[in-house]
């Protein structure tokens, strides 16, 4: 027997409707690629989104069609978020920092019919277009004055939307499981794979974002958005901000410490989100400032994700009165799966003990279920010390990839994250390694990351990489590769001595080699697969 409640689908268009009706004066601040600051209330945003929606329909964009973007965090990119999904098409955000051949692969794979791009990418787009036969419409996200150096075929965004009305738009109503956006994730091997979000997953994820035990986003927030709109929908922030009427400050192409600091001060930002690298740059700028300047910040909390937040960053934020909230997730989890909010019982802890908790990747929010499993796929205890393969499931976790055969789920619907983690009795997750990098020695698992961290804590070590090498008796044993700091020396025995104070004896590397260089991906990740090939026994 079905209930008798209204069958209203959860659609992205309803977010903007709500913001326009009930938060008309809140909205966006956008530092554009043209170097100006644009202020746009939700009422103005909604009006421009309606013009854009009409322009897309006039172009012939149909429900389900992909519309690609190569763009920074600006108001026009947010307009595309709402207009493309609003008419039932799929917003395909492309990471413009990828290699041209990857961008080429991704746009061709998605069969995007239109490509919107920021003027900073005019040249790249001109170079790409000859190998993008399926892209019919190319639009430079700018005004007429800045069209000079754009590709010949490109239309002008502002001209395009000026041709259409801003009058009320009858947003189509459709199945909430329809695709709303598409984001490709690039692993270290194989071609990038597309995660296809639905309107339902997007809205449920937004509802979580506005929860106290989620990211605490509310109408009282002004958020400095340091995570790019081209990466996992900027952690869902455009949607969640419209849901609760929070102000959204978009820094455009400039993500250096000074630009972010100035913007945070000028716009009285209360919240921000970014990867650790962004905050390293931020603190780099803060170091040169006097305390009064730092005091101008209104920031109350900062969310860190993407990779583990260094304890030192969390401590530094605490020192200037800003709460760090670490979170974990991935492109396949929309992305927020766990959030490191403190529990009531942590109220009595010392600063240092609180920091211990804050360096964890957090606990699952409602909607996400998690577990760790052993090699045989059996669930492991929540004991905070037994590492296992981290699996997740829930309504905003991917069930597969766009036009890709690989099934990502097991028979019970668990998605294998590829991370190795421990989970404690309260559900706090600690990511200890990547599944393919963990060293399986005598039935136990050794974290390559923990060993690397122990090595770089030695004053002479600049960088370290640990890989598993096959071993007759133990299955695998760790091999450590070390780059020394310029002008520093140490030897195997001294380093071994240093490590033995930090990790269990049976974790100590089988061998330590000093090298001049280590291979990295374009985004700075260690390419351990290459190392494993290089150091494989003959």
């Amino acid at each position: 027997m079905l209930g008798l409640m209204q069958d209203k689908p959860l659609l992205v268009s309803s977010l903007l409707d709500h913001a326009e009706r009930f938060h008309p004066d809140q909205g966006l601040v956008s530092r554009t690629c043209e170097g100006v600051t644009v202020r746009e209330t939700y009422a103005q945003l909604a009006a421009r989104v309606r013009r854009l929606a009409r322009a897309l329909v006039a172009m012939g964009i149909k429900p389900g069609d992909r519309v690609a973007t190569m763009a920074w965090n600006t108001h026009r990119h947010v307009e595309l978020y709402f207009a493309v999904s609003g008419i039932g098409a799929v917003l395909h955000t492309v990471n413009p920092r990828l290699f041209p051949e990857q961008i080429d692969y991704i746009i061709n794979h998605s069969k995007a019919r239109a490509l919107f791009f920021d003027i900073t990418f005019g040249e790249s787009v001109a170079a790409l277009l000859p190998t993008l036969p399926m892209v019919e419409e190319v639009v430079a996200m700018t005004d007429e004055r800045h069209m000079g150096s754009m590709p010949d075929d490109a239309q002008c965004y502002e001209d395009l939307i000026a041709q259409h009305e801003e009058s009320p738009y009858d947003w189509p109503q459709f199945d909430e499981r329809s695709a709303s956006s598409l984001c490709y994730t690039s692993g270290t091997t194989g071609n990038p794979k597309g995660v296809l979000y639905s309107h339902r997953s997007t809205l449920l994820h937004s509802m979580m974002t506005c929860q106290v035990d989620g990211l605490q986003l509310s109408s009282r927030d002004t958020t400095l958005l340091c995570v790019p709109l081209f990466h996992v929908n900027a952690w869902g922030m455009p949607y969640a901000s419209a849901m609760c009427g929070a102000n959204l400050v978009l820094p455009g192409p400039n993500l250096d410490g000074k630009s972010l600091f100035d913007l945070a001060v000028e716009e009285n930002c209360t919240f921000s989100l970014g990867v650790p690298t962004v905050w390293l740059g931020f603190f780099g700028h803060l170091e040169g400032l006097d305390p009064q300047s730092v005091d101008q910040l209104s920031l109350k909390r900062v969310m860190i994700g993407g990779s583990a937040a260094p304890r030192e960053i969390i401590r530094k934020f605490d020192e200037i009165g800003i709460l760090t909230i670490q979170a974990w997730g991935m492109t396949e989890t929309s992305p927020v799966a766990t959030v490191c909010n403190l529990l009531p019982k942590h109220a009595e802890l010392s600063k240092s003990e609180v920091l211990d908790i804050q360096t964890l990747q957090g606990r699952p929010v409602f909607g996400v279920d998690i577990r760790v499993t052993d090699d045989a796929g059996e669930p492991l205890p929540f004991d905070g010390k037994t590492p296992g393969d981290l699996q997740v499931r829930g309504p905003w976790v991917a069930s597969g990839y766009y036009e890709h055969d690989a099934t990502s789920l097991d028979t019970e619907g668990w998605f294998a994250t590829g991370d190795v983690a421990t989970i404690d009795a309260d559900g706090f997750v600690r990511i200890t390694d990547r599944s393919k990098d963990v060293i399986k020695s005598g039935g136990e698992w050794i974290s390559s990351i923990d060993l690397e961290n122990a090595a770089v804590s030695h004053p002479a070590v600049a960088e370290a990489a640990v890989i598993g090498i096959p071993h007759d008796k133990w299955q695998e044993r760790p091999l450590m590769l070390v780059i020394l700091k310029k002008g520093q020396t140490t030897d195997r025995e001294a380093l071994r001595q240093h490590l033995s104070g930090l990790v269990a004896t049976w974790w100590l590397p089988e061998d330590i080699l000093f090298v001049d260089d280590l291979p990295h991906t374009a985004t700075g990740k260690l390419q351990k697969m290459i190392l494993r090939q290089q150091y494989a026994p003959a």
Copy 2:
């Protein structure tokens, strides 16, 4: 094109699973009808719910079957919430304060197959059973020791669940639009009508409850639940508490000021919810206490709903450091539709100006859309002064009534609430009247409630009722009926003089009559329909 996200239905069973896995040590405190205090963690709750679920299945309860309860706020009632909905049956909470003939009508109309009741209702149930032919199973929610005076056919709850295992239970997965609970709403006319909630509506409403701009419920809360579990699912609190792992304190049958105060202090409650009447009793108790005793309260916020919160209560709460959050809704809206949270721009207001805002019924949370319309059904402006019929729509608003022909929605899906309200530019709602009571005079609307409030502000007036009487020229004009306080006197002219300082001249009543008595419903509401008949022109 559908997205590629997991198709996980939003089910009530997933709430308890989450609480057990990630908040095992938080849970319930229950003052039972037997006079003892029971503590039950979410882990223990989940274990007992699994026993109960097996007992229900063994009884022959099938998906869709109704299971009725007549019970207070205790842990066993919460167990029924999760077990009944968990197995796919429908929890039908019956208001035990209704007249026996209403209870009889409701249970027969729902065709409940089982009836669970608290021992305080043993006698009423014994009297009801002969006219409830469809009820096959009757269970007293107590242990063997208290079964003495229970009806002969009644089984014992504790015996019943002791016969079943607490081992893992494979909760059925089904369409999230399936019915989860049923609550009848009794108007002033006609038979009660059943609102049939779905798993989906219940979970979406819970997600809103945990939002900062919702009720701000979090794992750091311990909630004193002063709204009954038999009324609109206690405003959804059992579900939302499990969602975020908040502690829930259940006061059982004793809702007097002293019992609630003592419980709030003993359990360090941080949040509470109740109708204004409950808080009048609460402050009645506080008046006799010294300030140190009052200081023992850990309450930080109190939600008031059900009827408009008097300004004086909000002020009194503020005086002792407790924030009042007013909300508006009804059985048909699950119930929360609008919540009175302050906006950033209110930060600079004076106490008295803040109080002005807090006496409003709040703004719509995301998920609920609202509007006011005129007699012709045309939308009226959000100007804070034009009253109209308040309409709502959204995924936790009723689309109809259980086994009832009346359609409650118009063609665009708007539900007519039967309230008259103004909405201001920020979306703040002020309920000014009931649609059937508002006086339509010369094309404008006069609020009967505002006139009554103006009248009772006169020192000699005990109670006032204002009704519309037909008028040749103006369509309707107000007639005021007044009961004077004992020993007090005034006359028509003096009262008219008093009113003219408080309302517009054209609102002044056509006539004022002094009466000895006014008709009320069982729950204390004025029966204006009777007055309209009584004072209708011949």
